[in-house]
């Protein structure tokens, strides 16, 4: 199950060059925390829209939860969208209902006509994004940017997708909002075991949260694997306009000054802390 890509090509305009070329990918239904990297125009957003049948492949097959999405096949797309919840960039713009609760209920209502448990699942989703209950009956347009984004994410979570895909979820949030949102996603992932896929440009996010990284360049997957291998491969970083996380940069410059030594590049605060304190013990 999960999502499988078999030799997928995609293009928006038949006359133009391909946006995605020969994509082969396997994403499990559970326990993944994937970050998709790559510079602007490398095809990241297109790739995630293929996962949820908003784009149909021009060639090859995308298989979502056993449902095959073929070129020009416009049937059976709704169940696919139920399996894979896609949160767009700036999702706050998709809000439109009178109250927060109603807006979150919109998705599940569309997927399931018998709306007995819709309100329940909406409330659960709102709880997951830790939005205060006093806001449920407020208009979504009177909330702050961060709150609106939570409501929008809850709107996707409420339909209970197996896999959650987010297109740059932290863009435009303040540092605290960013951390809160990411912690929330980690929490959701741990609690429900759902796979989470995130598009991001923020290497700190990658270093801290990601389990698996997929790097796209010019419509091709150029790397698919663990973050540590990726960050230690300086050739790869340089060739595809990637960067090191801030902590690793600090660690590298400390190493260059001869202050610390390490075998494995520290990626997080804790790892660097460990390296520094171990150094103290050695002296």
């Amino acid at each position: 199950m999960g999502i499988n890509f078999y030799d997928v090509d995609f293009t928006y305009d038949v006359k133009a060059s391909k946006t995605l070329k020969n994509i082969n990918l396997k994403i499990n239904k559970e326990n993944e925390f994937i970050t998709i990297l790559g510079h602007t125009g490398s095809g990241k957003s297109t790739l995630v829209q293929l996962m949820n049948a908003l784009n149909l492949p021009n060639k090859g097959v995308v298989e979502v939860a056993g449902i095959k999405i073929l070129p020009n096949n416009k049937e059976m797309l709704k169940p696919v969208r139920r399996h894979v919840g896609l949160v767009f960039q700036f999702p706050e713009y998709q809000l439109f209902e009178e109250t927060v609760l109603k807006d979150v209920m919109f998705g599940p209502k569309n997927f399931d006509k018998n709306n007995a448990d819709v309100e329940l699942s909406a409330k659960q989703a709102l709880k997951m994004v830790s939005l205060d209950e006093s806001l449920y009956e407020r208009s979504p347009f009177n909330l702050s940017g961060g709150q609106m984004r939570r409501v929008a994410i809850a709107g996707i979570l409420a339909s209970n997708p197996d896999i959650l895909v987010l297109d740059e979820p932290t863009v435009g949030l303040d540092p605290k909002g960013k951390t809160d949102l990411m912690e929330m996603l980690v929490e959701i992932q741990k609690e429900t075991n759902k796979s989470v896929i995130i598009i991001t440009h923020d290497m700190n996010v990658v270093a801290k949260y990601s389990k698996r990284c997929i790097v796209l360049d010019d419509g091709k997957i150029v790397y698919d694997g663990g973050k540590r291998e990726m960050f230690e491969n300086s050739e790869l970083l340089k060739n595809h306009n990637l960067d090191l996380p801030d902590i690793s940069k600090v660690a590298n410059s400390l190493k260059n000054k001869g202050l610390i030594t390490f075998e494995a590049l520290p990626l997080t605060k804790d790892e660097l802390f460990n390296v520094i304190t171990r150094g103290d013990e050695n002296e």
Binding site: F88, Y93, F106
Partner: protein, 319 residues
Amino acid sequence: MNNLAFGQYYHTNSVIHRMDPRTKILSSLLFMIGLFIIPKNNFLFMGIFALFMVITILLTKVPLKKFLKSIKFVTYLLLFSFVFQVLFNSEGELLLTINHNLTLVNVGICLVVLICLFLLRKKIPLFFILFLVVLVLGVKFLEYPVYGNVLLNYDIKVYTGGVITGAFVISRVLILIISSAVLTLTTKPTDLNNGLEALLKPFGKKTSILAMMISIALRFIPTLFLETEKILKAQASRGVDFNEGKLKDKIGQIVSLLVPMFIISFKRAADLADAMEARGYVPGEKRTKLVKMNFTLKDVIYLLSIILIITIVIIYRVI
């Protein structure tokens, strides 16, 4: 969807393209006025106007297909006005008489054929020509009482005057449409807008605001189009299927698209207003232009030749 074209500008960088937009607007205006002061059924002057248009079309280097496309919209109007003239104009000599014997059967057959044609209109290439052929055959067919009692018997008399006036009216409308197509095919919407603004200047200060509004509206159509597509996708991933559902669901689906679009447009409008104010835009105030419009020799020649033609027409009419 990025390359969504507005107006129908076709770039070739010809002489006509490089002409001052003011000239082009003014000359097409004069040309249209000229078309309507040609004396009735005077094919000599119509020929001169047509010749002028043909020369202009050749100068633009725009493929002929583009012009034909602009005529496409009015083909039925032209046909209608021609038939109207032929049926009701009784000047000149009698050309031919068509005797119609209507029975239930032959009227029925004609209706069935028409309905079939109407249903298949999207699938047949060169539909208009087929339609013409069927029309002529139908008119002929109605002469014979196929079966049953004759319900109605009447004569259609066609006079030479009707045919001539019909042809005159058609050529006038054709040239009119093509002359406006020349303007829109060879002038960018922004240039058109600038030209219009310059031409309207003598009529008051506020006209520049109008021109600014038009150009902003034109500029933001593709942007809003992209935005709509985004919202459409976002709602689709929330299970909205814009192709199915009952009327009640449909309304809900459209609301889910319209509300975000309104919010985005208002937000964009407010942002744009701030940005314009921050860069010193004062409505109605005098502004300098990045591209100065130049009135050159080719403009003078083009405009003068049109004025010449019109003057001849006027003199002819007065005398």
